[in-house]
């Protein structure tokens, strides 16, 4: 048991990295394929409708559209890997990479705050429910989380705006951070809406895994030793119950993403989701493909980090890995 487990651990990390790279290539291939199938012509979009046939052919050659598709795919991956995702077909033909660079911080800030809030509130609600299993507190916490799972965020969003921004003017009705009020006040509604679904999921998970943990022998021993309840719950039980929660962070990414599309749409926030929907409505193919590729890559990276962090938190996983 000396060096072997460590070696195995690194081997499993190497395997996961490899799997991550394969996933990234798969996502790149799907967006590439979508680009091939999409109507519209990048060369025509570049030279305009009135260009001569020679100019059009020159543009095709310059963009590499006359190469066979495997070569085009290699070029696509090579370009994408240093941030060249083509140009938007409309407006000032801004490079897609630049648009994403501008939109990404807006989305990322809200997403990170939302996952932080969801974790804090979700783990707290779940723990309170587990400690009071089947009592009124438990029922209340469960009802809140059921509500979070079943009420879609595009229902919750308008209702929150209606109550907090229209009927009472505590919060702004749109995202306009250049206005006079402090920045955080524009983030309240987006963060709350985006955190609702992951919060509910995390609360349920924490409850279930904490109830299991509280029944284990070492907890009984701790009670017998006379460990005070608050210490028992925080250091003994919660620490062991937190693992499924880390796993859920990876899968919560999908919910966060859906949430960000919805929130950015109705709160007029210029993030990734906002630009993606705008691009679909204008049929701006390079921008659609670019945002999907970048978001898909983020998803792979987040799951990779979760996969690598898990065994660091829990020695049981570290030992059992092949």
């Amino acid at each position: 048991m000396s060096a072997a487990p460590g070696l195995r651990f690194f081997k499993s990390i190497a395997l996961r990295l490899l799997y991550g790279v394969v996933s990234l290539l798969f996502i790149a291939f799907v967006t590439f394929l979508a680009g091939e199938l999409a109507p519209g012509d990048a060369a025509l979009a570049r030279v305009g409708e009135k260009a001569t046939h020679e100019a059009y052919l020159a543009a095709r050659h310059e963009l590499g559209l006359d190469l066979p598709w495997p070569q085009r795919f290699v070029k696509y991956v090579a370009d994408a890997s240093h941030g060249d995702l083509g140009q938007s077909w409309f407006g000032t033909r801004e490079p897609v990479g630049q648009i994403i660079g501008r939109a990404f911080p807006v989305t990322a800030r809200v997403a990170l705050l939302a996952i932080a809030l969801a974790t804090l509130v979700g783990v707290f609600l779940g723990s309170v429910a587990a400690v009071n299993e089947n009592r009124a507190m438990d029922k209340a916490a469960l009802s809140i989380s059921t509500l979070g799972v079943t009420v879609p965020n595009f229902v919750l969003g308008p209702l929150l705006v209606l109550f907090f921004a229209e009927w009472n003017t505590w919060l702004p009705i749109n995202y306009e951070p250049e206005m006079s009020r402090p920045l955080w006040i524009y983030l309240v509604i987006p963060v709350v809406i985006m955190s609702a679904r992951p919060m509910a999921t995390l609360a349920r998970l924490t409850r279930a895994s904490m109830i299991d943990t509280l029944r284990m022998e070492f907890v009984k021993l701790a009670v017998a030793k006379g460990v005070p309840p608050w210490r028992l719950y925080t250091t003994h039980a919660l620490r062991n119950a937190v693992l499924p929660v880390v796993t859920a962070m990876g899968t919560s990414f999908g919910f966060l993403l859906t949430g960000s599309f919805i929130v950015e749409r109705f709160y007029s926030m210029p993030g990734i989701g906002f630009y993606t929907i705008d691009a679909i409505q204008k049929r701006d193919t390079p921008l659609i493909l670019g945002t999907v590729l970048v978001t898909g890559a983020m998803f792979v990276v987040v799951n990779l980090i979760v996969d690598i962090v898990q065994p660091l938190i829990d020695p049981r996983i570290r030992e059992s890995q092949v």
Partner: protein, 266 residues
């Protein structure tokens, strides 16, 4: 006993939604008819009032129910067929078919559903048909994964091994000894999946890339009503209410069916 009553209520509600989808869109008023009387309060003629163009909200909710059920059921049927075929082939097919199929199924999970749906709609355009295609493509892998694990465990049961030892051909085994065991769990999962599909369709329509105006769907009705919600909150409330209740009822019935199909999960 209390659970059975709730189940009956949820089923009755779902039956009403189906009736509403069939007859609702042209019940008393057409769902596209502008009456010229915007924002009427609920009254004897317009039971739920009218929207910003004076159209009957109840008829429009009925058409929304029709769209939601149409998308939900079609997508579920497609993903059940594809998922079952892939899941069964994933266990019984020769290696050169089985392995690529399973890798493809796993690969589909590398994409968040909403992202793949948005990519497909971005490429093929907006509207009812692209929404059905996009959501079908995102829905089948989870069915395939479920069917595959179920089939893999059935394959080792005595009745299967016995029949196999007697020389029964694989297709006979699949239809006689495998598929009949799957209907219960697939029906239960379908209820929950249909709820998920209805939510996805509503999200896309809310974002303006799903069902296109003037045709109503619950999602785009919510998006429209948002603009007038300060003065006319009821217009916003109706689609929110019927959508949430339908999704809740489907999830509830699905969970109950699952515990009936698999008593151990209680």
């Amino acid at each position: 006993m209390r659970g059975k009553w709730l189940l009956a209520i949820a089923l009755a509600f779902l039956a009403l939604v189906v009736l509403f989808a069939v007859f609702g869109p042209n019940f008393r008023h057409g769902y596209l008819d502008a009456t010229g009387q915007p924002f009427l309060a609920p009254n004897g003629d317009f039971w739920l009032g009218t929207d910003e163009q004076g159209r009957d909200i109840m008829s429009r909710l009925g058409f929304g129910a029709r769209m939601s059920l149409l998308v939900g059921v079609t997508v579920q049927l497609i993903s059940l067929v594809v998922g079952t075929v892939v899941g069964v082939l994933g266990v019984f097919a020769p290696v050169w078919i089985r392995v690529p199929l399973l890798r493809l199924t796993d690969g589909m999970f590398a994409f968040p559903d909403i992202l793949l749906a948005i990519l497909i709609i971005g490429v093929f355009g907006m509207g009812l048909f692209p929404v059905i295609v996009a959501l079908s493509i995102t829905a089948w892998p989870s069915v395939a994964r479920l069917v595959k694990t179920q089939v893999a465990s059935l394959k080792d049961r005595e009745f299967f091994v016995a029949s196999q030892a007697l020389g029964a051909p694989t297709p006979y085994l699949v239809f006689k000894h495998v598929l009949p065991h799957l209907w219960g769990i697939l029906l239960a999962v379908s209820m929950v999946d249909v709820a998920g599909t209805i939510l996805a369709e509503s999200s896309l329509s809310f974002l303006g890339i799903g069902i296109q105006a003037p045709d109503p769907s619950w999602g785009n009705m919510i998006n429209q009503a948002r603009l007038y919600m300060n003065s006319n909150p009821m217009v916003l409330l109706w689609p929110c209410l019927i959508l949430s209740m339908t999704v809740f009822a489907l999830n509830f019935v699905g969970d109950e069916l699952r515990s009936l199909a698999d008593p151990r999960s209680r």
